[in-house]
């Protein structure tokens, strides 16, 4: 059953007191191009991450990603082949090639990394801030999704959303050095990691809490249930506040975390999403999450366990794409960080192409640039699917995608690795490529732009500028010419 959003409604407060929410209904102007109040249609930002390189170690084929032709109607090589599907979604997606995340130790360049690829390059890539020293492995500034959320995400139900497709690190212990996090928020004086929701089921339940069915009787029952749940949480929150002073410092910090989760849940239960276009509806429960697979027995080759290292990430990615689509359509959030695979991903790629390797080791002797590109295409297929759903959802005079700026990026390019001194290495940030989809703020869509070693952060800057967010990513200045 599809529930559409109730456009104006009541929530009863504790003890049966009726509380009228302010009317938040958004009315379009006569032309359908802006709000009746004069503001523009909301922009949306998304960044999706593929924790793999564009080519294989030792393979002279640099990549099968960058098209040969420049401008519109670019040619589709293996990695971006899915852009030819979905009714020509290529015309909505630009390819930016020739990108370089700079590196060097004396000095470390602005927005660049020192020499240890997997440990040091991710921070500058997502934050635009260089490693602070040759020993620094950290992330030193907020990421684009959080900069956008601070600018345009304050009034939505969710300030931002973070989702994670790859369900496990697939080696013993957990992902080291934050290889599973691409979103960081500057809060007060400190930088907070913002890890993604791994469970599609939990993400679904969190997103659609607060949807009110159109039938008045159903709506009443849902309202009663919401009121009850809020009052339960309210009591728990009060109880925790009482307990808090009784605890030592470490326990108090843990309890504060618990308290914050309870309060946030309570707020979400109280908040009815403000509006949505005609396409805003609750889709059926995706059911239980696919089982989380076991750890890899080896990195690849003859001893590789083809049943491990995989949690049906294809299905997980599809549910998350549907959730992002609806979160944007219903204006529940305006910024999403979507980690498809972790940096240095050890997800098995056997279910995708039949090669008994994990994604990372495929590049280190297990496969060719052609093999690698087929894995890039798996990621880009999910990106293309999401773009197509947003394109096919009307909003105002156009589509939701017309108000989006969506970025897809990789952990690595393919080229020189300063750590090992090798050419044609996967541990390289030379020859990187990214995708930018949507037409927010007049973005030129469907183009192939070749840059002369532009910083990947300039693609993020371009997306932010398109959304009216006039801020640079870390130390990276300027945008990609020709797209805005």
């Amino acid at each position: 059953m599809a529930r559409s959003l109730n456009r104006r409604t009541f929530l009863r407060g504790l003890g049966g007191v009726a509380v009228a929410l302010p009317a938040l209904e958004i009315m379009l102007d006569a032309h359908g191009e802006a709000l009746a109040g004069g503001g523009p249609l909301p922009g949306r930002f998304m960044m999706s991450f593929d924790g793999g390189a564009l080519g294989a170690d030792g393979d002279p084929v640099v990549n099968l990603y960058a098209p040969d032709t420049v401008g519109p109607n670019y040619d589709l090589k293996t990695a971006i082949m899915p852009l030819g599907d979905y009714g020509g979604i290529q015309s909505e997606v630009s390819v930016i090639s020739g990108l370089l995340l700079p590196y060097g130790t004396n000095p470390i360049p602005p927005g660049g990394w020192a020499s240890e690829f997997h440990i040091q390059a991710l921070g500058p890539l997502i934050s635009g801030m260089r490693n602070s020293s040759t020993d620094d492995n950290g992330v030193n500034g907020p990421t684009a999704d959080q900069i956008v959320a601070d600018a345009i995400g304050q009034d939505t139900t969710f300030r931002s959303l973070a989702y994670q497709v790859q369900a496990s690190w697939y080696l013993t212990q957990s992902a080291p050095y934050g290889r599973d996090v691409i979103s960081y928020r500057q809060e007060g004086g400190s930088l907070q990691a913002n890890p993604g929701q791994v469970s599609p089921r939990a993400a679904y339940q969190a997103l659609f809490t607060g949807f009110i069915p159109p039938d008045p009787a159903d709506a009443g029952a849902v309202m009663d249930e919401l009121a009850k749940r809020r009052s339960v949480l309210d009591r728990v929150g009060t109880s925790i506040e009482t307990l808090m002073p009784q605890l030592g410092l470490a326990d108090r910090q843990r309890m504060e975390l618990h308290f914050n989760e309870i309060r946030e849940l309570e707020l979400r239960l109280a908040a009815v999403p403000p509006t949505g276009g005609a396409g805003c509806s609750m889709f059926p429960d995706p059911g239980p999450d696919p089982a989380v697979g076991g750890n890899n027995s080896s990195n690849g080759g003859s001893g590789f366990d083809t049943n491990a290292g995989w949690s049906d990430e294809t299905t997980r990615a599809r549910v998350f794409a549907d959730l992002i689509h609806m979160a944007f359509t219903c204006d529940l959030t305006r910024s999403v960080a979507w980690l498809m695979t972790m940096a240095q991903s050890h997800m098995s790629i056997h279910p995708l192409t039949g090669i008994p390797y994990d994604q990372h080791e495929l590049g280190h002797g297990g496969g060719t640039t052609q093999d690698m590109s087929e894995i890039r295409a798996w990621h880009i297929d999910h990106f293309a699917y999401l773009c197509a759903r947003l394109r096919d959802t009307p909003e105002g005079a156009g589509s939701v995608l017309d108000n989006c700026a969506l970025v897809h990026f990789n952990e690595a390019g393919h080229g020189y690795d300063p750590g090992s001194g090798n050419e044609n290495s996967t541990h390289s940030t030379e020859n990187m490529c990214m995708l930018l989809a949507g037409r927010a703020g007049g973005l030129q869509a469907g183009q192939h732009v070749v840059t002369n070693n532009a910083h990947p952060g300039q693609v993020f800057n371009t997306a932010m500028r398109a959304l009216g967010v006039n801020q640079e990513l870390g130390e990276v200045t300027g945008i990609i010419e020709g797209l805005l």
Binding site: R229, S239, Q246, H258, E261, G294, H364
Partner: protein, 552 residues
């Protein structure tokens, strides 16, 4: 910290502790009452030079399994509502480690769902027990009902202000016209999302008013809780709570009575599900995939049988209260026709597992069980490194860290190259050698067992090469010899003690506790001591009975 440094430090700490404490432990006959560890001296703990103190566990959230058992034991709810929670991650090999048991946004939402489900099921299952003063439905009765409930759900008496909080919800239900029973249900749901339920022991008093570093005995309710989650993986029952309420548990004889009663209770099966399965890393068997052409008998049934064998071995060991050395040296186990085939035993028929005696020249307790050998194998061949790592981690507590950044995997074999030669080539790389010099010689001793655990004397026409080496340099040929040697050293007793304590305390055992751990192990993991001796010694340790206050 560099991984080589971490490893060296760990070994150093262990051997340093042995130097200090082992001679004391040898002379401790357990009769002295003033051995300096503050517990009456009956756990065999010798005075260790540096008293490490009991350590601080921190708030310890219930694991998924503990949550399921707890609502089962409280309210007869058997639907395992915590199965939908995100998996608990492990620290130091166990998922009940307080360090990793936090509350994430997705868990918060699921906890609320589960609480509502459990509260509704509880009211359906056992409302007669819950509604203690029915049919009276006044405010006094509501308070009494919630007090009785809170004692069981919070594992300690609720304070007045905690009941006041819950009464607000009860009143809410009355105001909504939902009725008295619904009010109890809503309040119960709130209790089930509250920290007092979700964390093992939320202190009722103000911890931070005490001095940092101060050590105090656990109060009786907290002790009852630690004991029941150790032995049962679940909440204290009414009898244990009554003992706690009477302040009886400080009396060692009362504590022992409860300990014996709880070990005899079927709920102590959780020691296997909670402790043994994690200790021996049996979850890895689920991912094992023996090659069907080489091993046509392997299927999911055989996988289950392999696990059943381990479980029955431990059930038998506990039922007889045998020695923990049997894990290394036992030759009595359980097999059905297919497992007997792997063991090379004739005359066992059918699917049901039955007692069998193994050839003591070929088999050594758990170490040579098909479950262990299969889960540490490639689909076609034994995996020497994985078998060595397993032995190092589970039996010796020598934790090799995962391979470091930038280190290539072991090379593929050259044509005609033996596995031993291939790994020797790998160890020639100094960055690999420091760990693999430990791991590989342990793994080599398993050469007599193929990828499913069948005994073999030859590999590809060549005699097996089972010569290996213990971390102390002792050379051994084969697992049987290795196990016999291990049974004479302190390392295995220390290690199994460390594992039990890690699980019992829900925290990582610190380096400065190695001396205490080693002393408990030496005294309680011997041919003459039993499983319950070790469990009791852990319960009687300072670390278990008391807690350290951490300041602000």
């Amino acid at each position: 910290m560099k991984w080589t440094g971490a490893l060296a430090l760990g070994l150093l700490a262990l051997s340093a502790c042995k130097d200090d404490g082992s001679s004391d432990a040898d002379t401790d006959d357990g009769s002295t009452g003033a051995d300096g560890d503050g517990d009456g001296g009956d756990d065999g703990v010798a005075a260790c030079d540096d008293d490490p103190g009991p350590g601080r566990v921190g708030l310890q959230r219930l694991t998924r399994a503990e949550y399921n058992r707890t609502v089962r034991d409280l309210f007869g709810v058997t639907s395992n509502p915590a199965d939908v929670f995100p998996p608990d991650s492990s620290t130091a090999g166990f998922d009940n480690n307080a360090a990793s048991l936090t509350v994430s946004p997705q868990l918060a939402a699921l906890l609320l769902d589960a609480a509502e489900t459990v509260a509704a099921e509880a009211m359906a299952n056992v409302s007669a027990q819950i509604l203690v003063c029915a049919p009276a439905q006044d405010e006094l009765c509501a308070r009494q009902t919630l007090q009785a409930l809170a004692l069981r759900v919070y594992r300690r008496p609720a304070k007045d202000d905690e009941i006041d909080d819950l009464m607000v919800l009860h009143q809410f239900a009355l105001d909504e016209g939902d009725g008295f029973d619904a009010g109890i249900e809503y309040a119960l749901a709130a209790m089930l999302v509250a920290p007092q339920f979700l964390y093992r022991s939320v202190p009722p008093d103000s911890m931070h008013l005490l001095d940092a570093g101060q050590v105090r005995p656990l109060d009786d309710y907290a002790l009852a809780t630690r004991l029941s989650y150790f032995l049962w993986g679940s909440t204290p029952d009414d009898a244990l709570l009554a003992r706690a309420g009477a302040d009886d548990l400080a009396d060692p004889s009362v504590l022992r009575e409860e300990f014996d009663r709880m070990l005899a209770d079927p709920r102590s099966d959780a020691l296997y599900d909670g402790f043994v399965r994690q200790w021996l890393q049996l979850g890895k068997l689920g991912a094992a995939a023996p090659d069907p052409t080489l091993f046509p008998t392997f299927d999911d049934d055989l996988r289950d049988d392999m696990l059943a064998e381990v479980q029955m071995f431990f059930e038998d060991l506990r039922a007889r209260d045998g020695s923990l050395l049997e894990i290394l040296t036992g030759t009595r186990t359980y097999a059905n026709a297919e497992l007997a085939g792997i063991y090379g035993i004739d005359g066992v028929t059918g699917d049901a597992l039955t007692v069998v005696d193994l050839d003591p020249t070929q088999r050594a307790g758990v170490l040579t069980m098909p479950a262990i050998l299969t889960m540490n194998s490639n689909p076609d061949t034994p995996n020497i490194v994985r078998r060595g790592v397993w032995l190092a981690e589970a039996i010796l507590c020598e934790e090799p860290p995962p391979p470091p950044e930038g280190i290539p995997p072991a090379p593929d074999p050259a044509p005609g190259e033996s596995e031993r030669d291939r790994l020797a080539r790998h160890r020639a790389d100094p960055s690999c050698a420091s760990c693999h010099n430990l791991i590989d010689p342990l793994g080599f001793t398993f050469d007599n067992y193929d990828a499913l655990g069948n005994w073999r004397d030859e590999v590809d026409g060549q005699p097996v090469d089972n010569l290996g080496q213990l971390p102390d340099g002792t050379e051994v040929a084969g697992v049987v010899a290795l196990a016999e040697q291990l049974a004479t050293t302190d390392q295995y007793p220390s290690c199994v003690t460390e594992k039990v304590m890690t699980y019992a305390l829900g925290r990582t055992v610190a380096a400065d506790e190695e001396c205490v751990v080693s002393a408990i192990g030496s005294a309680n993991v011997t041919a003459d001591s039993t499983v319950s001796d070790l469990l009791w010694a852990v319960v009687r340790s300072d670390a278990f009975l008391s807690e350290e206050i951490v300041g602000n």
